[in-house]
Amino acid sequence: MGELFTLFISAALIDNIILSKFTGMCPFLGVSKKSSSAVGMGAAVTFVIFAAALVTYGLYYMVLDPLDIEYMKLITFILVIASLVQFVEMVIKKFSPPLYKALGIYLPLITTNCAVLYVVLENIAQNYNFIEMVVYSLGVPVGFMLVIVVFSKIRERLEAADTPKYFKGNPIGLITCALMAMAFSGLAGLV
């Protein structure tokens, strides 16, 4: 139980996929200008990462491994993630417009995103068993949501601040990320 908790905390905070592993930067820089969209984005990412991790893990150990075609894993994973997102978006569009309004519009942005693919590949590379895979795949998006919401609040303040002309927008945002990364790396001694 202790190791699972450590795994969760390190996935969410210490080895945060944005501030420590650098994946998931595209939606991070793109959608973090308003905090309402950041929350929607976080929810969509959580859903996609968790669902994709489950499906790809199952596919890898039930189909690719027994048939001895592990080298197909990259192609398989990409196709699974992309099909899953298309399928889920189609289902949400048909059956739940309010849900579509809340998080459906962010789904396409995470279709082939570094973060989802990174989590899915790490699940295999680190040889997690099923429970560890579930904990990791839930911890990572929790960390993502935390960082993107905090960043969007900071960015809203930055808009009103007096930044040098050419640094406005993404450059000053990235320097802010540097400060956040420094703060988060201090948590490394926690566990």
Binding site: Y71, I75, N113, L117, A178
Partner: protein, 235 residues
């Protein structure tokens, strides 16, 4: 002339990394040493070149509705092959780059160039475009790696990617007491990237301002000349 302009646009004007913010996941992660940067850059150039060529050759055969899925499959297959090659020929590089070689497949540059350029132009133009963008990416990556490695570890070192024990050159530029190890780790990556992006924005912005000022001045001068000519005629 047009081809040359296309080729060089990938370096400063439309720099994929600092200008368009494409593929930044990998840039931040692998720019720790020059070895990694060069290795990643070469992998991206190879993938970009092959994918541009294949997609340009197939651009008339692929049905328009499903072209994006087809491109994704092609790029995924290419990256699988590149990853296997790297694992075979350069285990040191494979170990330091890790999962990021596989993440080339979602590097926005490759799918972006395939869709924006290779699906509409011939093979030679696509090759030039791939080389331009790929070299722009590699040069930006090297710039970041240079800064991070020199300030972070003080040593400018390059080892043979195929044989990790062979050091090609190694200069100690900053003595180890004065290095700022922050730059070798995560915050340093963001910091270097943000500063370089800001500097590039400043360079491009100032150039554009100058061009606009010159255009205005030329217009004003032309208007003045026209007015003087009219005055002369009236006299």
């Amino acid at each position: 002339m047009n081809r040359w302009k296309n080729f060089t646009s990938g370096f400063v004007r439309e720099n994929p990394v600092f200008g368009l913010y494409l593929g930044i996941c990998s840039v931040l992660a692998v720019s720790t040493t020059i070895n990694n940067a060069l290795g990643m850059g070469v992998c991206v150039i190879i993938t970009l070149l092959l994918s541009n060529v294949i997609i340009s050759v197939m651009r008339d055969i692929v049905p328009n509705d499903i072209r994006i899925p087809v491109y994704i499959v092609i790029i995924a297959s290419l990256v699988t092959v590149v990853e296997m090659l790297v694992n075979a020929f350069s285990p040191a590089l494979a170990e330091s780059l890790g999962t990021f070689i596989s993440l080339i497949v979602v590097n926005c540059i490759i799918l972006g160039r395939a869709e924006a350029f290779a699906s509409k132009n011939g093979v030679v133009d696509s090759i030039l475009d791939a080389l331009g963008m790929g070299l722009g990416y590699t040069v930006s990556l090297l710039a970041m790696a240079l800064i991070r490695q020199v300030i972070g570890t003080g040593v400018l070192e390059f080892t043979n990617p195929f044989d990790a024990s062979q050091i090609i050159f190694s200069f100690t530029i900053i003595p180890s007491d004065f290095t700022v190890s922050l730059f070798s780790s995560a915050p340093g990556a963001f910091l270097t990237f943000g500063i370089l992006a800001g500097l590039l924005a400043m360079y491009n912005g100032k150039k554009q301002e100058k061009a606009e000022a010159e255009a205005k001045a030329a217009k004003a001068a032309a208007a003045k000349a026209a007015a003087e000519a009219k005055l002369k005629e009236a006299k």
